[in-house]
Subunit: 451 residues, 4 copies
């Protein structure tokens, strides 16, 4: 959709992974490898294969002409193969006889796309590691940095910034795990010929298929998968899930950056997040880009899932619906991942403000601690009633919750000053939080240390 | 997403309506009109406005640089306005003081987009008219061309090709109606300044707003709508609905084009619908492109609807999610509409095959007619039982349904040869079908003749 | 999906509009009206029609049995008609001959659903009016109640609560308009028989159709629309749009209810928004329910749009996909609408806190006003630079922006104390805001007063 | 959404897995296990735990009352816990003090849901195995049953029914693999208290957590996951992927069942697939139900992915959006899976018609074989040109392709009668197809035999 918004939404990494050239090169890589594999299997001379492979370079092709012919043919492989045949023919007429031997358009298009995805997933992997490392650092450093936990957008009870980061990290680690599992299903050869049976290659078909798989360093699947799109669907669903997590982090950051909260910030940069009208503004630009990507992901995933219902041996429309949708999902996700990885690395934390916001709550966020302390003495139902009443009294009168409790007859009888000190000491809330952080960090360490 | 697939999915019409240049020009058109409106309202000299307007030409702007700065700023208006200010300043420093006076980025982006949409909707309108005319022609010409009606993908009862076309036409006419209604809500000025209140323009604000609306020939809405996105949502929903209808037509055509059915075809063209493996193939290329668009539409519409939940006076992420999604939906829809309009205009009809398929049904598609004829004599329940049995007998023994009915004692007693002639005369099925066709055509005529 | 969550998500109004009984009654209403219409057209005696109509009462039907047979038949009309025939037969065997005469299952199912939708839209209409009235009240009452406008979740510039409400109201008024337009396309008779041509009714078909339409007080469309689902799609899209607006209001309220902001609240109620752990909590329950509905709407709308691609004269799967999806969307929307209407009516406003938050901004939200005031003297570019610097200085040193400007040489020279008074007087921001509010209210009044 | 359509869409298996009782029981199972775990950890006497556990039975609860209170509280756990406390109190007032000790509503709701999902996934697993077995049988039995392969809905080249089934089987096996991997992430304990840190349980928190996990036979995750919803998202995405495959099978079957194709059929059943108007119809009822489910899946998955963007320590709206969406997706998927498993088990195959359709193609589906045979002699480009021309000639003149080739000078010179025999012998197309089938079957066998 143009370059103007490309840097914002997709950062600058990997934006060429799925452009026209890359799409074309994917198909040409397939054709070159096919020729070599077939020559290796003895179907024709190696020299012919090399003559074909020599012409498998995008710069030799006329893109606008291919686009016109794609519209006629219904897919980009047909004109690409025709043009390749012409190119080879000009060079070595005999070799031209063997271009795309025994394959079908979808073999070239799908395998070409798998090759693009392989490079893409390497970037995703490395950015996931970068994000994981960044989050691990925040989790460790801020293991006990106090922060108000918020539920339903209301201040709830104390937690730590490290605990918050550990939650993100735990999800990130699951995405690393999923990527690993999904890759083995998504990155395989597509090669079946007209209706998937490789009938045009006669008795050497499987031998050629294996040689082709070897050429491309892709596993040979049990059977061709032209109209069984769960591999593509799973890739898309994985990206949708990852976007969900990235969007969650961005949402949290944008809430923390609110003027009224101001506890953490995207890294500042010159001219970053300015406004055309308001000189004082510092807008959460990365959060906006990531939230936009996260808003777009579900619809794109839904399209790919809908498109799985493909007809017989090759789909009509469903397959075509993938061609722009999956690449778009890929680059959006990579852009969002990069944004969040960078944001976490450069996260500006205002621990003072975090503590100030906690203190400004006038003890209300210790209501649970108070109730539990009291409950241990007089049972939960009554304890909650007392603390709820004290909390309301405190809010209405502007008092600190401790004061309101001290004024409540029952509470005052049950809770000593020392008890109250313990209740209102935020650090007491963090014992298990820190242990949770450690568990997440340990799991990450185990994964990194695994052979 | 590149040019390689652009002609296939978006045909060649209107593909530049939403490219980078168009997006930029939209914003610049806003800025030029704003300057003129403000000069007209006396805020600054007309000469300054003209100095600004003179620089509002996309070719003066460095797109890659704008893209980089957009990523910093979070929106493309900020760097555009900065670059425009520099350009004006070089020419007329005094005028540079007034660039983007009192407006906010979103005013430029939204209004710029509305201007793009206005041109786009003119093309949609004209292609809808073209489709409507094409369908009216088919409906008229084939008013009584017999065709098997199919329900649940099973042959059901006779209908006519004209009736089928009239169904598409009726839906098309509703889309014309919707477009008309939607336009008045979608095509309005966006102008509110920082938080929508136009506070920066002081007491002349509404006067400027009206002048700006006049400059751009856009209505001035009651209030700015920065974070109220139902206007954009309605545009998107309209396009999604239209895609649904276009997809339905494409699905039908692809089913009629099946080798086993072969009743109607997309217009042939040189190299159209060929295969890289199978020399005999004639693939439904337009249908594939349209079905792909129809598969993508719902996800894109869902994205826009999701993105409506925008925060306070300017959304974070939701607004940004629209920027590429809505244009994509626009060009996909226009491409699909063009494909179907062309297909209908050039539709190849094999009326002989339609009749042959009807005859090949060995009378089964007249089962309802037989049952109703019998029901008038002996009541529906018993009549259905008899015809169901006869139908099964006929299928199993390879007989014509008429024969099986003649062999059924009750049926034979109730139905004379003349009754049976009437039952199995397909033309008898079409009396009301033709009346329905006429109703639809008349409605279209009334619309076209309305003042 | 059960009753446990029904009150939360769907409030208690209209929850029975789309339950099993209502679905069954819709079909039975169709059958009764059909019998009467056909008797009126002279197809059979009026007494037979009355005998049929007498049995069209849901309490006579065995729901679990119908459910079992629906699974066999593939649609609920077939077993319903069979059961109705048995019931009529027991009562008046002659009349049983005429049950469902000349109609198809989809006629009963679609028309039955249209009848349910008609009642549903009356509730939507009345709740939209209630919401509109509630918002008009807030807009009027708080026309100049100061509030910080927020963009990108950052404090931006002053606005009024009335202006905010007027924005919601304006969108609500557009939904009223859309409802009105959509209704005429959505609420029409479905009646076409087997393949839509009414062939089973012979020459009296259109007469019967018109009589049936009259019986049900539904317009007779130009042609049957069994596989042209834009009418249902448009209904769904309308609901999706409305949910988008309701979600936006709920998002804003939930942000205003944040502990750190605390400017406006859902009406309190006993036990409302409590927590199982934290005695001090007051959760935004209505906002949560509405945001959940708004999150679910887009996916449901996408399903209906996807399902529009239906085959030939009756869809396979697409039609069936509507049966639970559209009712779900209906009741979710009505629930959300009711929640927001009630919330707006009982909205608790803390105008003091609004003002306090504005004041706490230490003048930063007047940065635009300052810049514009200065720009009028020294041009926009320089003015913005100065104010941006002053704003940063103020933030970093904890000063008020006014103070920082007074300390800036250029600003101090250009801006007198009176100028500064004007800049930092929030009421000055609201002149046009109030005019916008009035425009929206006037438009509403015009609509209500229209004949 | 009621019972009327439940059997059709969800078959009768597992329909109660996610009803109100099951939801309530899930929460009560959590509460009972929590009490026991806490007693085990020494927080209170075992007798109190047993008094609590004794009351954790759904039949003791008043569902309409819970529904009303859920609407007040915003979640169903709060009134459930309150009611449980009252029940326990009536029985053993001392024990009532310890109900829900230290936990939060979401702990009960999420863990309760995980317990429901665990039972659900057992059914999915067993139905996947059943489908896998059914497909393996078809693949084996019809390993070389000839069938026309179809691409773009056009007859393409011969394949076998066994190959088609092997393609479905291969995808099914991948789903088995995914289920296995996903389960370990989806089926874990949720237990974190107010903000996830288990602060209310003091130093014994992790000990209690482990004991609770043991009680419920669920793994204890590294950290609580209240607002990290990728676990739920992955479950949903898995179901969406599975629905995509099931929809693909249903689409294929519905196309094969077309009157004009008639090659394979859903198992017949009394009253199955009848019509209310057309006595001869045999509608693909299972296919319709499954295609409807496959049409609904993507939108539901998109909702869950959208809802992942949850705020801070507990989401507002996003979490709530899951409550009905995920169960709906679960039961729809199980219903569709059951439908397809049954359909495959009872699949009616008309091998004679398959062969007849192949023969009716008059050799056109051997065009690829002819072209490849010729290409081996004169190169691909020229060979394709010749066969394309012969194919067109044959179609236009009604000749067999073999005849048209015999009349072509070049082809006639290159291809002997024996060559032509080989080209037009369909069995020759199946050599590698059968090998592919074997590979898929072998993979399945390996999985079943793995320890």
């Amino acid at each position: 959709m143009g370059e103007l918004l490309a840097v914002l939404f997709r950062t600058s990494v990997g934006s060429d992974l799925f452009d026209d050239r890359a799409r074309l090169q994917g198909m040409l890589d397939f054709e070159a490898a096919l020729a070599r594999a077939e020559a290796r299997a003895g179907l024709f001379p190696a020299a012919a294969a090399e003559a074909i492979a020599r012409r498998c370079r995008t710069e030799l092709f006329d893109m606008p002409d291919l686009a016109e012919r794609t519209a006629q043919a219904g897919n980009p492989a047909i004109p690409t193969i025709a043009a390749l045949t012409r190119l080879v023919s000009a060079d070595d007429p005999a070799a031209a006889r063997y271009v795309h031997w025994g394959a079908t358009s979808q073999d070239a298009i799908d395998t070409g796309f798998v090759l693009q995805v392989r490079r893409f997933l390497e970037l995703v992997q490395s950015d996931l590691e970068r994000l994981s490392a960044g989050l691990a650092k925040v989790a460790e450093k801020h293991r006990t940095t106090l922060l108000v936990g918020r539920t339903w957008l209301q201040q709830a009870a104390p937690t730590s910034l490290g605990f918050k980061a550990a939650g993100y990290l735990d999800a990130t680690e699951r995405h690393v795990e999923r990527l690993d599992e999904m890759r083995s299903r998504a990155l395989v050869l597509q090669f079946g010929g007209a209706v998937g049976t490789l009938s045009a290659l006669g008795p050497r078909a499987l031998e050629v298929a294996q040689a082709l798989a070897d050429e491309l360093h892709l596993p040979l699947p049990e059977i061709s998968w032209h109209s069984h799109r769960d591999r593509i669907g799973e890739l898309s669903a994985f990206l949708g899930l990852l976007l969900g997590t990235l969007g969650k982090v961005a949402r949290d950051l944008s809430l923390l950056m609110q003027t009224e909260v101001a506890e953490a910030f995207e890294p500042a940069g010159e001219a970053r997040g300015g406004s055309s009208t308001m000189p004082q503004k510092r807008n959460p630009v990365a959060a906006a880009a990531v939230l936009a990507a996260a808003a777009r992901g579900p619809g794109l995933v839904a399209t790919v899932l809908s498109a799985m219902v493909q007809e017989h041996e090759r789909g009509l429309g469903g397959w075509h619906a993938e061609w722009e949708t999956v690449p778009e999902l890929c680059v959006l996700t990579l852009g969002a991942l990069r944004h969040i990885a960078q944001t976490i690395e450069g996260l500006e934390v205002d621990a003072g403000r975090m503590r100030a916001n906690l203190d400004a709550a006038a003890g209300q966020v210790f209501a649970e601690a108070a109730a539990m302390s009291l409950a241990a003495r007089i049972g939960k139902p009554q304890a909650y009633e007392i603390v709820e009443r004290a909390s309301r009294t405190a809010r209405e009168s502007g008092k600190h919750l401790r004061e309101a409790l001290e004024e409540d007859a029952t509470a005052a009888k049950q809770l000593s000053a020392r008890d109250l000190d313990a209740i209102f000491e935020p650090a007491n809330s963090l014992a298990t939080a820190a242990a949770f952080v450690d568990r997440v960090l340990a799991r990450r360490r185990r994964r990194l240390e695994a052979p």
